[in-house]
Amino acid sequence: MISSTTKAQSPLIQQLRRGLEPEQFKNAWLDIVAGWHRRELWATLGLHDVRQRYRRSTLGPFWITISMGVMVFALGLLYGQIFGQDLHEYLPFLAAGFVIWGLVSAMILGGCTTFISAEGMIRQLNAPVSIYAYREVWSAVIAFAHNIWIFVAVAWWYDASLSWNMLWVVPAVLILLINGFWMALFFGLLSARFRDVPLIVGSVVQVLFFLTPVIWRPEMLPDRALFLQLNPFYHMVEILRAPMLGHVPAFENWAAVVLIAVFGWVITLFFYSAYRWRIAYWV
């Protein structure tokens, strides 16, 4: 039975007017908790995603490491010359930046396809849909674990000294993952409904790569520009890069990232509570 309807009012506005029922919120939360309990499933799926790309090559997933390594060295030598930087300092900085950028962008870009790429499974399997977001974050983590060795190798080559500040790496990775998880849920949900979202997000992330101090140092800017402070990626990269290079991360960076996490989760929980049940219809 087919009927055509025009929506007089956007469903989002209706939703905002009506507010969320506690039960919707509870179901969304239970979905995320139940997703965590299925971690053996999504961990396996995430691993398969990474392995599948390199299945029949001898080096396997270490191609990730190699391509990252080649990029870091080529760009390091080039931009070290252009910016007149001392490679001793610049290469570890660049390697750390690239590796972190790889993690953050993989979580966002992969997050966009969270539900779209799992289309078949969503319609066949009665599992909590949050497992697909966990899966995307997990495959980004696996790729990160391969890339991090580029930084370790560069740091070792330039005799970087170990310091206690490096312990900040652990909480920094954790908060990045917490952020990555809401991004996967939120952008995944939005992309499932609006298919141009992955394209929009893709081009925005590409532009932000150049606006974020990955290749260039923040100190190179004449005075700390406002756009640097307003760039969420700057803070996300910085909280992890500073301890990797042996510095204490700045308070402002941590405050910004925690704020992004809280803000992001509030918005995501709202959307996820309201629209989680629609995902199976949208994909």
């Binding site: 087919i2 009927s3 055509s4 309807t5 499933l41 499974m121 319609r123 066949q124 009665n126 298919r195």
Partner: protein
């Protein structure tokens, strides 16, 4: 005790066009107060009403067969029973562990070995790795695939994959089992061999819902049946009664044809032109058309203009005029 209760369940699908799939269009629309409207109606979202007002109560021991034409809503109903689709309206309460067996080869990774795939499918079914390891030998024995289990399953034949999937899927009995048509289709020999296992397996399951076009299979496996049409339950009861009703409704459908002719005679000459009436493609479209004409006639009689697909009505009338002028 496993049970499923559906109360007044309705499910409708939005069918998006590429324009309504775009957040850019949506934002521009709301920024301009929604005043830009394309003539073709491409910004309208069509809605397919897949299930309407379904009330069902399934209890332990029920073996239920779903029958109905293609597109009657059987698969959608199975997905609602499995908790995959949450309905737009109504309440669903499901007690007990549910396993949907819709696509038996779901989630098989062609590059992984047979053993890895056994583990993977076990995880899909909600088991843990350690539970699956305990069952691995028994499953491997049943498949009789031997050393092939160490090879990637892209090297397997369709029948071998089928064996693997079947062995894993039947290794653990859930409380509620939902089976969509096509399970085991084309591999009758293996099903024969596996029937013993299937029997043992299904005896442990509390509720089975089976959707199939095979009346033989339904009357063999099910004690009750539900007949669906156009997203509604039009008959429920013992298997014999419902299958009888289904047969009558099929035999009766040609008699309903004059109704459709009065609205859209265009479909009649078209059918006559088709050289082979068994051609499934044209048969389906003529059937579709007839269904649509039925519905439209119904809506028009009730004066529900707003529910009529006007674009299509115009096209149909135009094509009708053309066919007549050709004749």
């Amino acid at each position: 005790m496993a049970s499923i209760t559906l109360e007044k369940v309705s499910v409708s699908f939005p069918v998006y066009s590429s324009a309504t799939r775009s957040i850019k269009n949506r934002l521009i629309q709301s920024a301009t107060g929604g005043q830009i409207r394309s003539e073709s109606g491409s910004d309208r979202i069509s809605v397919v009403q897949a299930l309407q007002d379904i009330n069902l109560k399934l209890e332990s021991g029920d073996r239920i067969g779903l029958v109905g034409h293609n597109g009657a809503g059987k698969t959608t109903l199975l997905r609602v029973l499995g908790g995959i689709y949450e309905p737009n309206e109504g309440r669903v309460s499901i007690k007990g562990s549910t396993v949907p067996l819709f696509d038996i080869s779901l989630g098989m990774d062609p590059e992984s070995t047979g053993y890895e795939n056994i583990l993977l499918r076990g995880l899909y079914l909600g088991l843990s790795r350690s539970q699956m390891r305990a069952r691995l030998d028994e499953i491997a024995d049943f498949t009789e695939l031997g050393d092939f289990l160490n090879l990637p399953i892209r090297t397997y034949s369709a029948g071998m994959r089928m064996r693997l999937a079947f062995a894993v899927s039947t290794s653990v009995a859930p409380d509620i089992l939902l089976i969509d048509e096509g399970i085991g289709a084309g591999d009758a020999a293996f099903l024969e061999k596996a029937s013993q296992r299937l029997k043992l397996f299904t005896e442990q399951v509390s509720i089975i819902v089976l959707s199939s076009h095979s009346e033989a299979l339904i009357s063999k496996m099910c004690t009750k049946a539900v007949l669906m049409e156009h997203g509604r339950v039009i008959g429920a009861g013992t298997t014999e009664d419902v299958l009888e009703q289904y047969k009558e409704s099929r035999d009766g459908s040609p008699k309903a044809a004059p109704l459709e002719v009065s609205i859209s005679p265009a479909s009649v000459p078209q059918q006559a032109v088709v050289p082979s009436p068994c051609d499934p493609g044209s048969g389906a479209s003529a059937k579709d058309r007839a269904d649509w004409a039925d519905r439209t006639a119904h809506l028009l009689r009730e004066g529900r203009w707003q529910d009529v697909d006007l674009d299509r009505l115009v096209t149909e009338v135009e094509s009708l005029a053309h066919t007549q002028s050709q004749n």
